[in-house]
Amino acid sequence: MAIELVFEKKPKWVLSLNDSRLMVKRSATHIIRNTDQLLGAFFQPIMFLVLFSTVFGGAISKSLPPGISYLNFLMAGIIVQTVAFGSTTTAVSVCSDLQKGIVDRFRSLPMANLAVLNGHVVSDLFRNVISTLVMLITGLIIGFRSHASPLHWLYITGILMLFTLAFSWLAAIVGVFAKTVEAVQWLTFVLIFPLTFASSAFVPASSFPRYLKAFAINQPITQVVEAVRALILGLPVGNHVWLAIVWSLGLLAIAMPLASWLFRRKTSQ
């Protein structure tokens, strides 16, 4: 008959950390079981990469510096764009958790409440790593070549992860705010689409009209794209690397506490 139940006797911070680990495992299981979303994470980057490089390649390559193919130029941009759009998943997951009442279940448990957000953000990072690897492999197959050293790849990985975390936490804010998953989808689209297109992700910003150029060269996505691009192509990185890091850290420093505060407020009315 009845089993003797043994409770954890570890310090509170260890248990809180363990709550986040359990939530990451949960969100990661969601990603694997949600086949539609998984296929999207797999095929969408391939589609973007192949379409952009073949459709725009011919026209744009003329305005690129000599010796750089459009595919090599595009790679950084398409990775950053995919990661930025990938953050939508965090927003959708947060929103649907809030709607379905599972958050109430978690809140009735003696667990760290913010673990739910941590779970979505961290598992989103895993998914983005997979998407990025898929893009790199596809790129290599269709002719992408990099001059980056292993150390450069380490920098690239670091910059992209930091950027992904920042965007996922921003997306978490949208997820807490929006009332429906549909609202999340159009809201994130309206926020992210202009940011990625009014940047140097797909074409050099030097070709933009003056006012747009002023915006494009000073916004975070351009900094991250330029930093990753310079590292990939073995070009001088200028200020881009540290600006990309400062931007990501700055956004993270604002978005993380704000999302947490909003989440707490929304769930305890």
Binding site: A2, I3, E4, L5, V6, F7, E8, L15, N18, D19, L22, K25, R26, T29, H30, R33, N34, K100, G101, I102, D104, R105, F106, R107, S108, L109, P110, M111, T267, S268, Q269
Partner: protein, 320 residues
């Protein structure tokens, strides 16, 4: 551990959303090892009360404690002694039944080993072994409710909130849910149940609190509530609404309830030998025919109707 006489206690709880008063001073006291049923229609404030007592919702006035812990100041302590199930909580649809149980167990601070062993025990107890490794998304309504309840029992908390545990279930699943709840009561769990079904409260609860519009309008055991309404009822069905209206005129104050749709009227009778004959004589004198009639004992439905009916007429008086 601080203890007082009542495991769950609410004193004069109030809660408003803007100018809408949802709770207007709710008082509840639940003794150890007993079940209290909070009975009321949709929007009466049942779920709001449960959400406050289970630390999910803030409130404007009053006090609430569970196992002697204040639900605001010691929310964490409260959370480690309660289990919540029903419309206020949910299970994860993309996880399997077993994964849900093990995860929630660990979030209750059980060790992974304890959590797994207890999950297996609950799966067996709740007849979910075959479905244990399927995602909860594929479960039927009844299975999902059972899993939901199992999840809230994973750490065998001494206090359970059952928020409308059988709403929307088919009769068979409902009966199996009742059987499970009765077993829980035998184990000495203190339970707060909310329901809009009178027979559910009647079947399960030690004490019933009837609420409407955010205040308690009656409380007591099922027998006490029924005795408030008192005597047997005679239900008369007429051939049409016209003859029913005529009958209302004849019987006057004897009629406690009537329905145009069913052309029926209910009369309170004190002594079946005398009163039934008297009613039929009155009707016969005016040549009003009756299609059918039935005598029944007062049910909680009657209690509820008469209580909320009184409540509404009092409201009218206040306004007038």
């Amino acid at each position: 551990m601080p203890k007082n006489d009542y495991v769950i206690e609410a004193k004069n709880l109030t809660k408003s959303y803007g100018s809408t008063e949802v709770l207007r001073g709710i008082n509840l006291q639940i003794e150890r090892g007993t079940m209290l049923a909070l009975l009321g229609p949709n929007g009466a404030g049942k779920t709001t009360t449960v959400r406050i007592l289970s630390t999910l919702l803030s409130f404007d006035g009053g006090e609430a404690s569970v196992e002697g812990y204040d639900v605001v100041k010691h929310a964490d302590k409260v959370r480690s002694v309660i289990g919540l199930t029903g419309q206020s909580a949910a299970v994860d649809e993309l996880l399997t039944g077993r994964e849900n149980l093990v995860m929630m167990g660990q979030l209750y601070r059980l060790t992974p080993q304890s959590s797994k062993a207890r999950a297996q025990e609950l799966l067996e107890e709740f007849d979910l072994v075959k479905a244990a490794d399927r995602t909860a998304k594929t479960y039927s309504g009844g299975m999902r409710r059972r899993l939901d309840l199992a999840v809230s029992l994973i750490a065998t908390p001494p206090v359970i909130f059952l928020d409308e545990p059988t709403t929307g279930l088919d009769p068979r699943s409902r009966l199996s849910m009742w059987a499970i709840i009765k077993k829980l009561m035998e184990k000495g769990t203190t339970i707060l149940l909310t329901t809009q079904y009178l027979d559910e409260a009647d079947q399960l609860a030690d004490k019933i609190v009837v609420i409407d519009d955010g205040i308690v309008i009656a409380e007591g055991t099922s027998t006490e509530l029924k005795s408030k309404v008192g005597n047997d009822r005679l239900e008369l069905t007429f051939p049409n609404a016209g003859s029913m209206q005529k009958a209302l005129g004849v019987l006057g104050k004897k009629v406690i309830d009537s329905s145009d749709k069913d052309s029926s009227a209910t009369v309170v009778i004190k002594d079946p030998n005398v009163d039934v004959r008297e009613v039929l004589d009155l009707l016969a004198a005016k040549k009003i025919t009756v299609d059918s009639m039935a005598i029944h004992k007062p049910t909680l439905d009657d209690v509820f109707l008469s209580l909320t009916g009184k409540q509404k007429s009092k409201d009218k008086k206040e306004k007038a």
